[in-house]
Amino acid sequence: MSPRVLVAMSGGVDSSVAAALLCEQGYDVIGVAMRLTPDDPPRAARRRATCCSHDDFEDARRVAELLDFPFYVVDLREDFRRRVIANFVGEYLNGRTPNPCVMCNREIKFDRLWQRAAALQCAFVATGHYARIERDGSGLFHLRRAADDTKDQSYFLFNLTQTELGRTLFPLGALRKSEVRARARALGLVNADKPESQEICFVPEGDYGRFVERAAPAALRPGPIVGEDGAVLGRHQGIHRFTIGQRRGLGVAAAEPLYVRAIDAATGAVEVAPLDRLTARGLIADQVRLVRHLPTEFAAEIRIRYRHPGLPATVRLCAEGRAEVILDRPGPAITPGQACVFYRGDEVLGGGLILQALRG
């Protein structure tokens, strides 16, 4: 009997082609759409100017009908609310800048969804992520950047451990986006030319500040905008509206451009400074996970946000899942809450969430 795989299908072209490729490779494919946000499935018409009345789940269902594999919708809204949305809101209220996709992969797709897959006797969970998993001669799994450098999503996947990599498939890892669209067209998939989704799925208008305000109106932290010397330069309505390195929307007049250098959740103070004062020599990360075993100190290129080109650094693993990352040369603004992912060439070694920048 061919191995069974649960494919997480969003209704987009990537996960649809992923499912199609697995069918071609002879897997016993089960398609699953995840209901994550309170108003899932999102209405396609809201995002696109076209007059489509069917939604994204409907697109996924039609792909499943075309390729003739079972398709189900699973309700993960409660888990998503507790583990992703609440974390997202809490991080902003703590003056941090979260990455909910990292959290969703760790908590939902490769944890909760896997549990469902296991109950359905699936050997694998597959997604339309652009990343590659390779197994070497010793049986060790390696997580690598996608062949299509412009689409690579390995940054979001650093939390995958050996166990998880062993039961995960990324069928698109070796393909370019243009090839994926071509495959979709050749297969006659309804969503072959569907536009990319860019925004965070539960903040459709992309206004994170307003989302946080609606979710936790009582917990907002207004406070002063201060210079490095502590002088009050202005007031703000809540620290959740700020991210390290932010220049716009400060409402502060100064001779030279000022950027957010630090956010103090305890006092509500947002500290601003000229760009060169944001420079850091490194960072502390927590919730660190490694893809494979590594010595306590190793060299790596680190990426501190999605599409970041990478900086050479030394990673030293500490107690309690923390790591100290020292850059070879002092680097730019470092944003707590974002993921710091360790790479060696195109391989993901692991990563963690940025706790604080090391300056001076």
Binding site: D40, V73, V74, D79, L120, Q121
Partner: protein, 387 residues
């Protein structure tokens, strides 16, 4: 071989009904319009009226009192909206456990200013008939209830309601879509003015139903046009559907005693076998006064959603709550109204048998469900479900 246990969503088509419809399409009369004057029209009309008589016989109604509709949903809409529009009264009485095709038109009327009384059931899904009867007054336009509940199968006692409605001059509608063909349903004995029937719940084709309208009951039509169906439902009737409906109703009536005894025995066996293998399994709804084909069960330590998918992959087709437009399942509003927690509702599945279910299928289903439940329960994180 797959095992189909979802007949409350739609029973398997009776071979006799399939045959009758195939014959209909082969015959010359397939092209006739029952409203036409010529011989083809007359033949079509004869087929339609023959079917109407067969369906009417199922509920011991005069054939002329039956209006064919596109299904149970349209019949419920015609009953609720049609009765409300025809009345000058402002009160409508229903319950919290009705099918969406009753709840939605009632909610629509609420928007338009009608006073709606929604009676809650007890823990078994039983509506207190005296409590309903007490609410009926001379301003009551309509009392509308399901005779048997689609999700848990509870059969309601309606005699006091019928009496009170008659006394106050209120219209009494029963949705018998799930009951007809499974238990004896006689309009005069139940004392209702309107009754909804659905073909595909009793082994007919989907896409056709009927509303019984007691002679003298005033309804406003929803679909306007020609004078078909005594002016209550314009449009050429679904003639092939009616042929299948009539045939299925005939067979359901002829074998009612045998089938309901058989269904009762099979569902009791299924429940007993499942209880042996699944400690803590709970039956929702009463043991007696329940449709003989319906078992609504709360499974410990699993999400119904996962169990349903896992069973489907093993060839056993069951259902849960009601599906949203996207195909996701919502916890059953019926179980919630019966006082179950959301978690318990999320852990509940409906198994519904039909005329075709065999003892062999029931035995195999019990074995598969028990095995799959064990596996799914072992995979499910315990703290996620609090039945």
């Amino acid at each position: 071989m797959r095992i189909y246990l979802d007949s409350n969503a739609g029973a398997r088509l009776r071979p006799a009904a399939a045959h009758a419809m195939a014959e209909f399409f082969r015959a010359e009369s397939a092209h006739g319009n029952p409203a036409s004057i010529h011989r083809a029209g007359q033949r079509a009309r004869r087929e339609l009226e023959r079917a109407r008589a067969a369906v009417a016989a199922l509920i011991e109604a005069p054939p002329r009192a039956l209006v064919f509709t596109s299904g149970g949903t349209e019949a419920n809409n015609l009953a609720v909206i049609g009765a409300a529009r025809a009345a000058s009264r402002r009160r409508i009485i229903t319950s919290t456990i009705e099918h969406s095709s009753l709840l939605a038109p009632v909610a629509e009327l609420e928007q338009r200013g009608f006073e709606i009384i929604r009676v809650a059931p007890d823990g078994d899904g039983v509506i207190d008939a005296d409590a309903v009867a007490e609410q009926i007054d001379t301003d009551t336009a309509l009392v509308t209830l399901g005779l048997a509940n689609a999700e848990v199968g509870t059969i309601q006692e309606v005699a006091p309601i019928a009496a009170a409605a008659r006394r106050c001059g209120a219209c009494f509608h029963l949705d018998a879509a799930q009951a007809a063909g499974r238990i004896p349903v006689v309009v005069d004995r139940l004392g209702c003015d309107l009754m909804t029937l659905s073909a595909h719940k009793l082994g007919g084709p989907p896409g056709i139903g009927a509303l019984y309208v007691r002679p003298g009951t005033i309804l406003a039509p929803l679909i306007l046009g020609g004078p078909q169906e005594t002016g209550l439902r314009a449009g050429t009737p679904n003639l092939p559907g009616a042929v299948g409906f009539g045939c299925a109703a005939e067979e359901a009536l002829r074998s009612l005693d045998a089938e309901s005894r058989q269904l009762d025995a099979l569902s009791r066996t299924l429940l007993r076998r499942l209880r042996e293998g699944i400690p803590g399994l709970r039956l929702n709804g009463p043991m007696e006064r329940r449709l003989p084909n319906t078992l609504n069960l709360t499974f410990p330590d699993v999400l119904g959603e996962t169990l349903l998918m896992a069973l489907d992959l093993e060839g056993v087709e069951v259902s849960m709550g009601s599906a949203c437009a996207a195909g996701a399942v919502e916890p059953s509003h019926v179980l919630i109204a019966m006082g179950r927690s959301t978690d318990a509702a999320r852990s509940s599945l409906r198994l519904s048998l039909d005329w075709s279910t065999t003892a062999e299928e029931v035995g195999r289903a019990a074995e598969i469900i028990t095995r799959v439940w064990r596996r799914v329960a072992a995979c499910e994180p315990r703290h996620e479900v609090r039945p």
